[in-house]
Point group: C2
Chain length 313, copies 2
């Protein structure tokens, strides 16, 4: 098979042996694979693949067709359209995925959209609902709303009846975030006196923590899943106690198989129906062929886009 | 009635009008009332009573006998032994309490013990189980374990099958904390390399946060309910994410009636049976009569004790 391969700080296409599915696993013929921030870190050597994943083939999500079933695999049949989060190896013609991590692709999604669904929607859904317990009528603040997870968070918040405030650094992307359903879109320094917020989806990190704590509603929850803006935060414990507030944090990549499978089941139950009827969608900023993988990474790293960069394989 | 009254930074005994129970309320003839840190703050003028509580009569917990029922009150009968957390006013001969905040006093508890139960056990139970979800087999770290809530936390952790590590600043109190059930008792700076901990009960505050985060187990939870050692904490968001950890915080005093009532029901279900059969107990350090309330406050403020200071009224 042909695969994106990371070596010496760059990413190129190389021939690799076809992988074979083990017990309970599925061989997927990959059609689309979204790029994510972790791929950029891995390209720099700063984010090694977890055990069990290909060491030098990047890619944390994929969509494609079932090509073969390993012993005992029974959730899908050959030819089924599937998508998943994987620990690595998604940016290749073939990838082995445990069947319990796979989700069906709704008929209404084309390949570029499907390739960009798993990582951002699973991350946003897990943070907003499993971690922070967002409920209808609550006020949600999404920091870094123009990024992949941010766009998913804004849409999911809107779709469940929350009031959504978004902060976006790039002025030119604010209208697009409003079009996704945010009730108000603010500059990063303008949210403090627009609260109180019941849930804060933190994709920027440390710089927002003091004002986010002060702007929390009673029983407010901050879910930290990104720290691109810095990770050393000042936390006023007395202010947090006054709100009876909480700060949770998480990553998907380090979770064991059974926990990843649970997130896939939560997606099937709560997010795929919204995707299927178009209540939420995956904005795709640009697509690249596998041979253009270097250009795709450069495009991602350049930023300034709204929506996913997706490899078509 | 006679009541402890706070004025000009001191606490004295004064005559006050008897309060009368309203709808759903109960008039309690107070027999014992534990002192708490918040009383010391209120004496200094730093912790005003919440709306609906007597402005200048301190006391956040009480035990006594039902003296009269307000209209519609039906959970208890005259003469029943009851105890409760109150927003204020507990350090007086009479106190009005909503019946849904009252709990029955187990037969095996004498008045000094009963007067010291509500605040520390409700606070510790709420933080350990409702907030942090402590489970059997997990490792619990209690910071400030020689204080009232700390002694309750150590005992509850031990009673539910957790492994309990306690930190205690005062060397002379470490054996007593071990006698309460802690598996190991450490100096405040010695816990960092003895983890990982699944739950941290934080009664000291900011100074412990960096090491507590680093010593968390995967999916570990820090419950902050005291900040006597400082409230401006450094929080490494990346370290917290690496553990998929969380920090919750709370206070009891600011909660609305229905939430306080829920904590009373949780106490009745989960803690009173343990108190009744002696699995957990209230260490009473010293008792004072109401006329000695000034001395009681001075004794509390001096510290160095293990267990509750209780007024007998």
């Amino acid at each position: 098979m042909r695969a994106a391969v990371i070596a010496d700080g760059d990413v190129t296409v190389q021939e690799r042996p076809d992988p074979a599915p083990g017990a309970g696993e599925v061989l997927v013929r990959v059609r689309a694979a979204g790029l994510n921030g972790a791929d950029m870190l891995q390209r720099r050597g700063a984010y090694p693949a977890p055990p069990g994943s290909p060491r030098d083939i990047p890619g944390l999500e994929l969509a494609g067709e079932v090509a073969a079933l390993g012993p005992g695999a029974q959730r899908f049949s050959e030819g089924d359209r599937v998508m998943a989060i994987v620990g690595g190896g998604g940016q290749a013609e073939l990838c082995v995925v445990h069947e319990r991590q796979l989700m069906p692709v709704p008929d209404s999604l084309d390949w570029p959209e499907a390739g960009g669904v798993p990582e951002v929607f699973t991350t946003a859904h897990d943070a907003l609902f499993t971690q922070a317990g967002l409920k209808p009528g609550e006020r949600l603040l999404v920091h870094g709303a123009a990024g992949g997870v941010g766009t998913a968070g804004v849409q999911l918040g809107r779709a469940v009846g929350a009031h959504v405030t978004a902060t976006v650094r790039n002025e030119q992307l604010r209208d697009a975030v409003r079009d996704l359903g945010a009730h108000e879109v603010l500059a990063p320094d303008a949210f403090a006196d627009r609260g109180p917020y019941d849930v804060v989806l933190e994709l920027v990190g440390a710089p927002n923590i003091p004002d986010s704590v002060n702007a929390l509603n009673t029983l407010g929850r901050i879910a930290v899943i990104g720290v691109a803006g810095g990770f050393k935060a000042e936390l006023n414990l007395l202010a947090l106690m006054g709100k009876r507030g909480s700060i949770s944090s998480s990553t998907l990549r380090s979770r064991p198989l059974e926990e990843k499978a649970l997130t896939a089941r939560a997606m099937e139950r709560s997010v795929l129906p919204l995707l299927a009827r178009g209540d939420v969608r995956v904005p795709v900023a640009e697509t690249f062929g596998l041979d253009q993988v270097h250009d795709a990474y450069e495009r991602f790293a350049a930023g300034g886009k709204l929506g996913k960069i997706v490899l078509l394989i």
